[in-house]
Structure formats: C-alpha cells, structure tokens
Amino acid sequence: MIRFLAKRLLHGLAVLWVVVTLTFVLLRILPGGPFDSERRLPPEIMANIQAKYHLDEPWLKQYARYLAGVAQGDLGPSYKYIDRTVSDIIKDTLPTSTLLGVLALVFAVVLAFPLAVAAAAYHNRWADRGCVFLATLGISLPHFLLGAALIWVFSLKLGWFQAARWGSPDSAVLPTITLGAMPCAYFTYLLRSSLLETLGEDFIRTARAKGLKEPFVLFKHAVRNSLIPVLTLLGPLFATLVAGSFVVEYVFAIPGMGRFFISAVTDRDYPLITGVTLVYTAILVCANLLVDMCYSLVDPRIRVR
C-alpha cells in the first residue's frame, strides 16, 4: 500500500509539472498582454510595469523563476489584484468553493440514490419514467438558466431564500441545488443503468430464490455491486465541484475560486491562471487517488498495487 501511494504521488507531481509548463507556455502564446487596456500606456510606463513583474526577462528565465517560487509555495503576485498574491486569493476563495462543492456533492448523492433505486426497482413504470425525466432535465438545463429560474421562483416570487451573496445558511440553498443538479442527474443515470445490469445477474436471482426480502436484495446485494461506475465518476466530479464553478459563483455572487478560471484568462493574469489550474490539478490527482483506494473497499476483488 505504501509503495502504491508513493508511486501515485510521484506520478501526481509529474502531472503537476506538465500542467504548469503547458499553462505557462500557452499563456505566453495567447495574443494580448496583462496590461493592455483601452488606454494604451506610454512605452516608458509599460517598461516600468514589465520590469516590476519580470515580464521583460526571457521566457526561460521567467519559467525558472516561477518554478522556483512554486517549489517554495509562492505562486507569485496577481497582476490584476495588485495588493494580493495568488496564494492570498486562493486562500480566501478556495474554502468557499470547497464548502459549496461538498454541499452540492452531498445533495447530488443523497438525491440520486433514492431516485436511481426507485427507477431500477420500478423499471419501465411511472417511477422509472419520472426519474429518467428528472435526470434528463438536470443534465439539459444549463447552470445559468437553472440558477436564474430558482432565483426568480424561490427568491423573487416566494421570498424564501436570499437571491445571492454568501454568508448565511439560507444563502447556500439555491447555489447548492444549481450546482448539484447536473451531477445528481449523472449519478441517477449511471446508478440506474448499473443497477439494472446488476439486477439481471445470477447472484441476484439466487438471493431472491433464497427468499430474501426485496429491500434487502436491493440494498445489500445490488446497490453495492453497482457502485464502481459511480465511484469512477466521483473523483473528477469532486475535483470539478470543489474547485468552484464560474457560472454558479457568477450568478449567485459567491466569493469562490471558480470565477478565476474564466476571468483570470480574460485579464491575462498569468500567475493567477497558473495558480488556480495548479490547485485544480492537485485536487483532481488527490481525488482520483482516493477513488482508486475506495475501489477495494467496495469490491474486495480489486487490489491496489
């Protein structure tokens, strides 16, 4: 197990290095610089700014400087948010995104399980069709549309929840539903089809023939054996949700990290883009590692090496 972990950690570090390098190169190729604006700056002022951020140095030197900083935990200054470092920004915003992501994931899993089980147990009946309809709706509705609709109904019309901003428990309800709807739909689809396949297996027929009650057959035998595809999806989904969602954070004015995946690119804030990409990749690597370890818990036939 220790060998497995060490191997995977080394593998993860290699992935992080590749991601940093690719991001660094791609950003420099992208047309437009961080300090281009409607007011074109006089050349001497631009020279001062470039010197301050070492942008006047050759790429290779900039790259070496950045890697040396990252190795010491320094992700550099933000070009847009002048008084803050990238580490400050991530420290301020990641906890909010993570909390919202975990809430959305819990919402998705808690809702998806009963829906998928009901759909599989009542295959081709109204419960199944209803669940499939809801899941299709969840996948098809874009976040911005669902978010706006939820604000309109539950905030403007009914006045139950705060329309936006983060802070109180009620402010988390609508963004959690918006962010969790799509993963919930995917989980429902995936678990339902996996359950339907498992319910047709010989060992289920044997369990029923032994006279086991249906809830016992479903939860003890079928569900556990249908979890592998769901677990596979859980890793990348976890990383995506906890790293923040641009649209949900934008619509509900949530002070999370997700917005920077788009706005930092628009602003050409090179250190911020690289920093958030690095954090996202690290979360993804860790989540996948955890999922791989969970496989053996769900199915003892799978061994980690």
């Binding site: 437009g32 409607e38 001062n48 329309a163 901003r165 802070g167």
Partner: protein
C-alpha cells in the same frame, strides 16, 4: 421515492416532517425584511476592487471606494470645475508655470495626525517612482522632471517639480502652462499618502487594519470578492455623514443585483448593475436617473490603406450613419454625436461633424470611384466581443448597405486579442471609445495626435498636432475653445479620421427612501451627502 422512505412514510414517521415542509411552502414565509435600516446604505460595486492603493488603482470599482475614503486638493463642483477641498486656495503664478496650493489646517487623518503638504509630495513622487510602476504616472508628466524621473533617467526625486515648502504649502512647477492641471488635482491618484504607513505595511497597507484615510468614511472591513464595509468618519472636517454604514457588495451578474434591489436588499445600482433590457421599465419607476458621461464611442478608419486612404470614402461612410438609431437599440438614452468632445466639457460643439446625409454620401462614394458601392473592396468592421457593440455594428452594417450599397463583414474578438490587433494591425474600420480621466478636452483630443499610442488608425495631421499643443498651453478659455473647434473640424469633418457615434449615458437607480447620492459624469459615486429622506438635514 425509494422503498425505505415509502415504508417510513406509511408507518407515519415522516409525516411531521412532511407537514412542516408543506407549512413552510404555503405560509409564504419570508426570512428577510423588505424595509431596511436608515443608517445603513447598500450599493453594488459589481466587482472586487483590484486595488485600494490610489497610486495603483485604474478601474471604476476601486476609484468608487477610494473616492469615499479620501479627499484630495480639489474636488468638482456641479459643473465639473475644480474647487478647493483639502486646499483652501491656490495661486497660479508665472503665467501658469507654477501653482501654489495652500492647505487647510483643520484636516486630519483617521489616526488623528494632520494632513500635510509632505503627504502630497510623497504621494506624487511615489506615483512617479518607476518602482511603483503606476499606470497613471503619466498624468503628472507636465511637472518639471516628472517624466525623466519616471523613465529612470533622473534618480534624484528632489529634482521633480513638486515640493512641500512648509507644512501647509505645496508648490508645483510645470514644464509649460497647463490650464487643465487643476482638474488633474481632482483625480484620485493625486490624493495624499502617509509615508510611515506605507513603509511599515508594504503591499498590505490598504488592509482595513492598516489603512489611514482622511475622507468621509473609514474602511471597516474588506471581505474579498464579497463585501466592503465603510463606517462614517466622526472626525471628517465637513461633518459626519448621515449614514453610519455603507455596505458595498460585489455582485457581477446584473440580473442578480437587480433582484436584490427589488427585494430591498440593495439601495443603489449603477449602470454596471442594471440589465440593459430592464432600463425602460425601471425608468418609469422612482429613483431612476440617466447621467450623461464624459465618454464617447467612435468608429475609426485605418487611413493608411485602401479604400479608407481616400477622404471622400471616409466622409461617405460617416454621412451614411443615422445616429438617432442608437438610443433605440441600446435602451440607455445614448446621445447621438457627430463631434468628439462630449457635452459638459469645455469646447463641446454639437455643430461640428458630418450629419446623416445619404444622397451626399452616395455622391462622394461615386466620386471616389465606387458608384452605388460597385467595385468596393471587401472590408471588415471589427469590435470587441460585447452585446451592445454587436448591436451597434449590425445597425451600421445595415445602414451602409442601404445607403451606400456596400456590404461590410463584421468581426468580433476577445478584448485583449482585439487590443493587440489594434496595436499591431488595425482593421479597416474599428470600434473604440474613451472616458475622461479628468474633465478637460486635452484628455479627449490628444488621443489622435500623430505620436499618441491611442491613435489606432495611424492618422497624422501636423496642423492638428499644432492646435493641440497650443490649446494645452493656452490659459484663456475663449482661445482654447477656438483652437479645439478648429481641431475638431479637422478630426471629424475635413479629414474624418474618426466617426463619433454617441455619448454614453449611464442609468442609475436609487432606493426612494434615500436622497443626496451624487453620481457624476465620470462614473464616480459620492456618498457623503446620502441621507434618509425623513432626515431634514445633515449633522
């Protein structure tokens, strides 16, 4: 519902939970009060201010916070003329080459220390210091040796022409007479700073626990990407503001901020927080205001290439635009314009420019060798990706097709890519705009001088350059107006380097419970006079 839930519900164990849910749903309970506290005023900033360091800030969100935390030497009156605020008076000497500011002696920083002339000298030299790398350093380049110091050609800051001759006197020496310099003294980047605070806290000096300010409000808290809270300054020399607390939210999505306003959770929205299509509805309600800005939108030509190297073609294109269409399609009350200097600024002259005249436009195009647009080369009109730029471009495309028989292609690009293209390879026709840093025509007109980095069309006119140079040094308003009139005629009428389209008008909406908010023509939100309507006078 899964089998377990069905089982529990049948046994009656979930019924109380279900009943509570139903009760909640149909009681229409609203956990939020719709009223609000008269001592708290809530506005939307739209976005996180990138910096509260006024030597480094460049955007409207940052300046809207700073403008309520600080006061500088001068402020604007209602007609945008500079009037003293920290300065009690000033003398313009040596035919405009030397300005002496005399400071009030009753103004203190939030930590109780007096605001001195040294604080201004330090701030201005910090703005110019190449190590600060301020984008707005050029605003002080009229000062003796300022440009050389910023370029690193001069290491000794003492040689820069700004000096505190005593605690209450600031002397500024200019390279040449600059009639607009007093307007520059209203700009936030010229506000004073405390050397001891900045040297002690470094880049963290703007954090609420470190910052020291001298304005009507104090920075109480700054939750990044979420909310800034200001508290009334009890020691502000003009009196403590009537509202105790200002909450500034950072909601980027316009429909969301409008939803909060309509829920009574926000008291003021500026143009950046109001969805365009909601403006006509809101304009019928209370508290709505349209504020014309010192900001113009124009289309420029790449005059160094065919077909726009021919002035007749440029004139034909300018005369084929019906500018009255823009307010109808943009819903913002935009003011159509054929001249470049906007209303509210010295030398604004609406009579200058080429007006809508399709027959004359067709005649000019025919004369240039393109009768009814025949044989006209393929031309691209470029703009940066934004919905209202697209609407304007499509409207103009239609007008040129109808009035000239010319079909142009539209092309839109991401903002930074677009800026790079303007710099390196300007498209035949391109969209651009300009907002005033300070309310003087010099700031608007010098965009198009031969050596200006903002002259994207690469148009050159020695006469225009001369006129601008002369107007920038002329102290008589009457003579300046005459010079700018001539320059505008060259720019928009005879040479047609650009086609001004309209002056931007911003919409704002204020909770009718409050009054006294000032929103000026440079998008500054001044909150120190805000008060609840029932309170008759300020403290």
């Amino acid at each position: 519902m899964n089998l377990t839930l069905v089982f529990l519900f049948r046994k009656g164990r979930l019924r109380p939970v279900f009943a509570l849910l139903i009760l909640l749903i149909f009681s229409g309970c609203n956990p939020f009060s719709r009223g609000g506290d008269d001592k708290v005023f809530r506005v939307n900033l739209s976005t996180e201010p990138p910096s509260l360091d006024w030597s480094l800030a460049t955007d409207h969100a940052s300046f809207n916070v700073i403008a309520n935390l600080m006061v500088g030497l001068a402020d604007f009156d209602k007609s945008l003329k500079p009037v003293p605020i920290v300065a009690k008076s000033w003398n313009v000497l040596e035919r405009g080459r030397r300005i002496v500011f005399h400071l009030r002696d009753d103004l203190t920083w939030s930590d109780g220390k007096k605001v001195t002339a040294e604080d201004f000298e330090y701030s201005w030299k910090r703005l110019l210091d190449p190590k600060t790398a301020s984008q707005y350093a050029y605003i002080l380049f009229d000062i003796v040796n300022a440009e050389e110091f910023n370029q690193g050609k001069l290491a000794d800051a003492d040689q820069v022409g700004v000096k505190a001759t005593d605690e209450r006197t600031l002397e500024v020496r200019l390279k040449h007479p600059a009639p607009y310099f007093l307007s520059i003294a209203t700009f936030e980047v010229t506000y004073p700073q405390r050397r001891d605070v900045i040297e002690k806290h470094g880049t963290k000096w703007t954090d609420p626990e470190n910052i020291v300010t001298n304005g009507p409000f104090l920075l109480a808290s700054w939750k990044h990407e979420n909310e800034i809270q200001l508290k009334a300054n009890p020691n502000f020399f003009l009196g403590k503001p009537a509202i105790e607390t200002v909450e500034m939210y950072m909601i980027t999505e316009k429909t969301t901020s409008l939803a909060l306003y309509e829920q009574g959770k926000l008291d003021f929205l500026d143009n950046y927080s109001i969805p365009t299509l909601e403006k006509p509805r809101l304009s019928k309600g209370p508290g709505f205001r349209r504020v014309p800005q010192l900001r113009g939108e124009y289309y420029g030509f790449a005059v160094d290439r065919k077909p726009f190297d021919d002035v007749r073609v440029r004139k034909a294109f300018a005369m084929a635009i019906d500018r009255s269409v823009f307010p109808r399609i943009l819903h913002g009350g935009e003011q159509p314009a054929t001249s470049w200097i906007p209303p509210g600024m010295l030398a604004h002259n609406p009579k200058i420019g080429l007006t809508y005249n399709p027959p004359e436009a067709r005649r000019l195009l025919r004369e240039a060798g393109y009768p009814e647009g025949k044989g006209f080369p393929r031309v691209t009109v470029s703009y940066n990706t934004l919905e209202h730029h697209k609407l304007v471009a499509e409207a103009i495309q239609g007008m040129w097709q109808r009035n000239l028989g010319v079909v142009v292609q539209l092309e839109n690009q991401d903002w930074k890519v677009y800026l790079k293209k303007l710099e390196t390879d300007p498209p035949p026709v391109f969209r651009s705009g300009w907002g005033a840093d300070y309310p003087d025509p010099d700031n608007f007109m010098k965009l198009f001088t031969s050596l200006s980095g903002n002259n994207h069309g690469r148009w050159k006119s020695p006469r225009y350059d001369e006129l601008l140079e002369e107007a920038a040094r002329e102290m008589s308003e009457k003579k300046r107006i005459r010079l700018y009139d001539e320059a505008q005629k060259i720019l928009c009428e005879t040479e047609v380097a650009i086609m001004p389209l309209f002056v931007v008008v911003e919409s704002t909406v204020l909770n009718p419970r409050f009054t006294g908010l000032e929103y000026n023509s440079m998008s500054r939100m001044v909150l120190r006079h805000v008060r609840p309507k029932k309170v008759s006078s300020e403290k």
